[in-house]
């Protein structure tokens, strides 16, 4: 196996970081909708910033 040049290694890292970021950006809105659907609606309407866990779990919406 040929040894990778510095440029190649840099590209590999940058590539992986980019793809991870892309995956997060894709995944979060979907996760957000899922969490919002099982959270208390008044809380979701007021919430600022990132929603990471369901708040006041309820399946009323369903």
């Amino acid at each position: 196996m040929m040894k990778k040049s510095l440029g190649e290694r840099l590209f590999d890292y940058a590539n992986i970081i980019f793809l991870v970021l892309l995956s997060l950006v894709t995944l979060y809105p979907l996760l957000y909708i899922l969490l919002a659907s099982i959270s208390d609606p008044t809380y979701v309407a007021q919430a600022r910033g990132i929603l990471l866990a369901p708040k006041d779990f309820t399946i009323e919406a369903y």
Partner: protein
């Protein structure tokens, strides 16, 4: 010796071909009869295949060609009471009205700009993602990224636009982030006409990048690995390999997809715009499709909206023919 023999063979072959072509120059009547015979014979031979084809043909007749009968209302002053036949002809009256109307320039500009932007930004996005994924060595990582990025494709458009509204609201995540990072005033993205195109194209890329990269990845997997080995032997780095092997390898796929995309050039995502827009951003958001919907369905101006729709279809068809012609001239890749 061999040479000469080959030459003689070739001459013989040419003569035969010439004789055959003369024989085939039959009269037109002969050819029609022959054609009929051929069709009947072919039908007898492949009964089952024709039977299997029939639902497709029926679909096209009933749902694609049948409704074209109603297109005549574009040239009539249609009223549902009088029906298709009873309504009086008005010629190109509706077309004239549309071309002279205030909306004509705006609609055309919005439609073309949205299509052009999605051609420039959204179409290459899938190719770039496929190229990047192709460079990843870890199988599991690659498949995870692929699965995650094509997930939004299966989410309903209504939900996607709902997410968009939530995230771009004045107190939404994107505004919070912008305010925190750049210290600017919150922007009401969905109510500013200059942001509409960015949001439309951006969310389109977000939703479809993974899905469109699949087909390019599939095209890449058919490239002969020995080409890469040969390139490595010649001292090509990974970037060079990408430019000289991967990209030419997927070019036929790219061109076919491009032709198909241009066939839909005048049909930008009307449903999505209907979900996203409001009267304050008609300036940039209103396209031919949504205008037809508002005029035809909401205001019941059937003839006028049929004329506008027909105008759109004619342009789309012309574009497709031109583009296919160009692709034909440039290379072997073409639709027909």
């Amino acid at each position: 010796m061999y040479h000469i023999k080959r030459g003689e063979d070739m001459a013989k072959l040419e003569k035969e071909v010439l004789a055959l072509s003369i024989k085939q120059k039959r009269s037109f009547g002969d050819r029609v009869i022959n054609f009929k015979k051929d069709v009947v014979q072919d039908f007898k031979r492949n009964k089952v295949i024709y039977l299997m084809l029939s639902p497709v043909i029926l679909y096209y007749i009933i749902f694609q060609y049948g409704p074209m009968y109603g297109l005549q209302i574009a040239f009539k002053d249609y009223s549902p009471v009088l029906g298709f036949h009873g309504s009086p002809w008005v010629g190109f009256e509706h077309f004239k009205e549309f071309f002279n109307s205030f909306y004509f320039g705006r609609l055309l500009k919005n439609t073309i700009l949205l299509s052009l932007y999605s051609l420039i930004f959204a179409f290459p996005a899938g190719i770039i993602l496929a190229l990047l994924l192709n460079e990843v060595k870890g199988r599991i990582f690659k498949q995870t990224v692929q699965t995650v990025t094509y997930m939004p494709h299966f989410v309903s458009l209504v939900v996607i636009v709902g997410i968009l509204f939530d995230f771009t609201a004045r107190d939404g995540l994107i505004n919070d982030m912008f305010v925190f990072l750049f210290g600017i005033e919150p922007i009401a993205f969905m109510r500013e006409s200059e942001w509409f195109r960015t949001l439309y194209i951006g969310s389109d890329i977000w939703q479809n990048i993974g899905w469109s990269s699949i087909i390019f990845l599939a095209a890449m997997s058919t490239i002969d690995p020995s080409l890469y080995d040969a390139a490595k032997m010649d001292g090509a780095g990974r970037f060079k390999q990408m430019i000289h092997i991967t990209l030419p390898g997927i070019m036929p796929t790219v061109i076919i997809l491009l032709i198909l995309l241009i066939g839909k050039f005048m049909t930008v995502g009307d449903e999505k715009i209907l979900l996203m827009y409001n009267p304050t951003i008609y300036e940039t958001a209103d396209v031919i499709g949504t205008y037809v919907y508002r005029k035809g369905i909401l205001e019941s101006d059937f003839s006028y909206s049929a004329a506008v729709g027909l105008f759109k279809a004619v342009i789309a068809f012309t574009l497709l023919v031109i583009e296919n012609g160009i692709a034909r001239k440039l290379g072997d890749t073409k639709l027909w």
